[in-house]
Assembly symmetry: C2
Homo-oligomer: 146 residues x 2
DNA sequence: CCGTATCCCTTGGGATACTG
DNA sequence: CAGTATCCCAAGGGATACGG
């Protein structure tokens, strides 16, 4: 079940917006952007998508490649991605069972899009680290002054 | 404190990668990409950034515009964004106090980057919704067959 | 090999009350 | 107005054990 399907559109149609951004979303929790962002942003999804970029992988292969993931969370993550049409699950009726996972075309486009964000992170991580350090230093000085 | 500062680099340096992606990240939890993704993916950050795109806003103005946010979470979110150098907080020493928030140049570039993700979501929400519906239908049929 | 089921702990985040 | 401080609950996710 898990909803996410039958809720109202949620994406903000620009009703008399004072600023005409190309995109603008509202604050509702059932917003489509939120739904999908939550998927993208959970602890493991992007890692799975990244690993599947160029190749099919079996369950156990994914498990080995993703350091620290529990069996449960790998299953849950894969099911979510499959439900969203981002990953295709193929079961080979052999014994012992063999299941492999691959990106769908939609999954590939998501991966490409996410790369721009990763690129941004890569380009700005030093600046962010510096900002954090500066903030923490100011905070420490302030605390010391008390 | 809150770490995030002193941990090891965490971003995968491409040591003998069999696939030479432009970007590739490892599975470590302290990965820089994760750190920053966690920030942009939390419940309110992007909403705040979006609202600040073109204008400064005061604390209460943000609170009014973001439907459903608690006072506590607005404070926490703003502090995080400020610490990361994405938002600048300006206190006017008047009485009653006046504080306003604006994006830094870095914050502006983040916002722009995120827009590509929002655009992807916008372009593909129907396909995702359809995939979910199909998945749920198959699941329901399977359950009925039991 | 590929999962599901259960238990349990940690974290995110809402409600409320209080301060400079 | 612009926050802090406290309490508390629900969801996320790890560990473990079992099943087809």
């Amino acid at each position: 079940m898990e909803e996410g399907t039958s809720t109202s559109p949620g994406y903000c149609c620009d009703t008399e917006g004072e600023f005409n951004d190309a995109f603008q979303w509202d604050a509702r929790e059932d917003c489509e952007v939120r739904q999908i962002l939550d998927r993208i942003a959970d602890k493991w999804s992007l890692l799975v998508v990244a690993l599947l970029e160029h190749r099919k992988l079996r369950f156990t292969e994914l498990r080995r490649e993703i350091d620290g993931i529990s069996q449960r969370m790998l299953t849950v993550t894969l099911r979510h991605l499959e439900r969203d049409g981002l990953v295709r699950r193929t079961v080979h009726p052999t014994v012992p069972p063999r299941v492999d996972y691959a990106l769908t075309p939609l999954g590939v486009t998501l991966h490409q899009t996410v790369q721009t964000l990763v690129a941004w992170t890569d380009a700005n991580q030093r600046e962010i680290a510096a900002a954090r350090a500066a903030y923490d230093r100011r905070e420490a000085e302030f605390a010391a002054a008390q």
